[in-house]
Amino acid sequence: MDLNFTEADQAFRQEVIEFLNSELPADISRRVHADLPVSKEDTEFWHAVLHKRGWLTYNWPKSFGGVGWSPVQQFIFEEECAAAGAPRILPFGLKMLAPVLMAFGSKEQQEHWLPRMCDGTDWWCQGYSEPGSGSDLASLKTSAVKQGDHYVINGQKTWTTLGQYANMIFCLVRTDSDCKPQAGISFILVDLATPGIEMRPIRTLDGGQEVNEVFFTDVRVPVTNLVGEENKGWTYAKYLLAHERNGIANVGISGQKLARLKRLSLTQKRGGKPLADDPLFAARLARLEIELRNLETTNLRVLDGFSKGAGPGPESSMLKIIGSELEQNFDDLTRRALGRQAQAHTPEVFEPGYNGPQVAPQDMANQSAAYFNKRKVSIYGGSNEIQKNIITKMILGL
């Protein structure tokens, strides 16, 4: 047992830092650190930079063009990207669809779609949830009926993140309704330019617009866009969930939030003294820092087990729960640290040429909105309640 980074790992970290120093523009980093919505342009720019370096597919297997990093190296890369304020790699194509295509897609699908998600041809979004099927995903109703060499899709998807920027969507659709709900679901790829698709924005409570509803009316999709076998889509979706361990705990993001909060606690005043000297605040901060140190090791333990061939267990669900709550707790404590300033909703301070007063420190001008926005992380991707169901099912075996 040895938790210390090897010299090779330390050299690798240095390489990542140098890359970020030279390639990541300051204005993008500033917006990411301030938790502003990341624009389409920033994401595409950053994908291109990473792609050029060959790191966009950092967690792909080497056989599919990945870089062959160890889990620890992947972890270091994520940590440093978060610390530097790099835009998050858009997960829908590269981290969600790609593993499914690699495991279950045809050779043609792999050769067609994988390069396109790397070079920026395709911006993928996800069509899983429906208005009546949130936690109970398997009850989804959007239907795909085979007619010759097409499926005809009718129904509605929702919570489609950044669908407004996307040209492609992967969907779970019902291809059989005369069986157990899970047994009649298929996994299909849909070009959003196909006639009959309408994307409508959903405004979130923080005023932002990052999720959408997608309406399908007689949308004709070639059968070649079916991934794997018909009616096996649920298996593929579950495969993804259980294998999602990299990055799921958001240790890098939380680490960056810890560093930001520590800096803030030195400049904010409470009772005339630095907030860092306030015992209740200091205790809250110490609690989160300790929790994060523990999580970092928990995460690495899971990755280590994974790389040594441990089968899928409840670990992904645990990482998701702890990681999402910890990230929320950092946003919560940051909000508290702002005092009355937390009331201010002043994203205008980031606009070019703004020269009015700042209520909160500049990188905090969007913080309260971000706090509310981040309530989502314990809801999406399988709510924490669903994750607890999964854990108990696996552990109690009932």
Binding site: L205, D206, G207, R270, D278, R340, Q341, A344, H345
Partner: protein, 364 residues
């Protein structure tokens, strides 16, 4: 001991409830919250005409209420409607200071909704300390001039005047000054608040001002005004929580997943139960604070801090838990819950947050 509201207060509550139901649609509230003024002047005026401001003042100064339970009644009902209009910030709290310093004409106009007076006590927006202003007031002849910066002054934009706290060279304590909105040297920078509404950064440079009360002796008055403002906030939060409770119960009863309504899932049942009993405790805290508003200041402040702590802790928990129990729908702008939750959390950021009041209580 008697736990029943008086007939008058029951009628007052009903009247406010009806006003909200008939004349205060949430959509209009949300639109007003992002307008330049940050609220709806017509709604404010209507509420004044209905006597809602009068209920916050006692008869001696032209109102017909003014006790802790009057304030709690009004603001609980306003909370239920997510009412945005600044009855707390620019009427109750500043009005109390004006009443106590003999500005009865101005109080009358406030009660009628004809004037609004903002209150600028805070200079460091990270802090909750309203007892140590660095703003300086100087006297030359019988005229005062004030210089300094006040931050996060709620709904100051469009107010007729502002009360600010300041030091004076000639007295050790704090003094209060009344400044016309149009006074020379006053510059305001309005900004939006995340829960809808607005606030201002205010800069004063040798701005002419009128001393309120006795020079250097304002702290007990500020303290008493803070107690009223805090009670009103707590009562508002209670109203918000009552509505969030109703929405959550309703959602539990109707939303189906896995073939049953959510309310059939025991893990959610137990969390809803916990939420409900916490809200009962919050309600008791508000009752205690309302009851002790007239008590000697030590006792009053303990009850106020106990309430603000309780409301802060329980309110944030209720807001977060209700969103989680709703899932995605709770995250949307179109569904009411999120707006109630935002206001509820932001109440923890006014007049001292839960940690601040917990330590005030511990040290008292």
């Amino acid at each position: 001991m008697d736990f029943q509201p008086t007939e008058e207060r029951r009628m007052l509550a009903d009247m406010i409830g009806k006003f909200i139901q008939n004349d205060y649609p949430l959509n209009a509230r949300l639109a007003a919250g992002t307008s330049a003024l940050g609220y709806c002047p017509e709604a404010y005026s209507t509420m004044a005409q209905l006597g809602l401001i009068g209920a916050l003042f006692d008869e001696e100064v032209g109102g017909f209420g003014g006790s802790g339970f009057d304030i709690a009644t009004v603001f609980t009902e306003l909370g239920k409607g997510l009412v945005l209009e600044p009855l707390n910030d620019t009427a109750l709290t500043s009005g109390y200071i004006l009443a106590q310093t003999g500005q009865l004409k101005l109080v009358e106009q406030i009660i009628l909704g004809q004037k609004r007076v903002a209150l600028g006590l805070i200079e460091n927006g990270a802090d909750y300390d309203w007892g140590a202003p660095e703003t300086l007031a100087r006297q030359s002849g019988d005229k005062w001039h004030v210089s300094g910066v006040k931050t996060c002054v709620k709904f100051a934009h469009g107010a007729d005047a502002i009360i600010v706290s300041a030091q004076t060279p000639s007295a050790p304590g704090i003094s209060l000054f009344l400044i016309e909105a149009s006074a020379a040297g006053l510059v305001e920078h309005p900004f939006q608040t995340v829960d809808g509404g607005n606030a201002c950064e205010i800069t004063l440079h040798k701005t002419p001002a009128q001393l309120l009360g006795v020079e250097g002796a304002a702290y007990p008055l500020i303290d008493a005004a803070a107690a009223r403002a805090t009670l009103a906030l707590c009562a508002e939060a209670l109203g918000l929580m009552e509505r969030i409770k109703d929405m959550t119960i309703d959602y539990m009863r109707t939303r189906k997943q896995f073939g049953s309504v959510l309310g059939k899932f025991q893990a959610l049942q137990h969390r809803v139960s916990q939420m409900l009993l916490e809200i009962e405790q919050a309600k008791s805290a508000v009752i205690n604070a309302a009851n002790d508003l007239q008590a000697p200041s030590d006792e009053r402040n303990r009850a106020i801090s106990a309430a603000k702590y309780s409301i802060g802790r329980i309110g944030c928990a209720v807001a977060e838990e209700a969103i989680q129990l709703h899932g995605g729908i709770g995250m949307t702008w179109e569904y009411d819950l999120g707006h109630f939750a935002k206001r509820l959390v932001m109440i923890d950021h006014e007049w001292g947050d839960q940690d601040d009041h917990l330590m005030r209580f511990a040290q008292s």
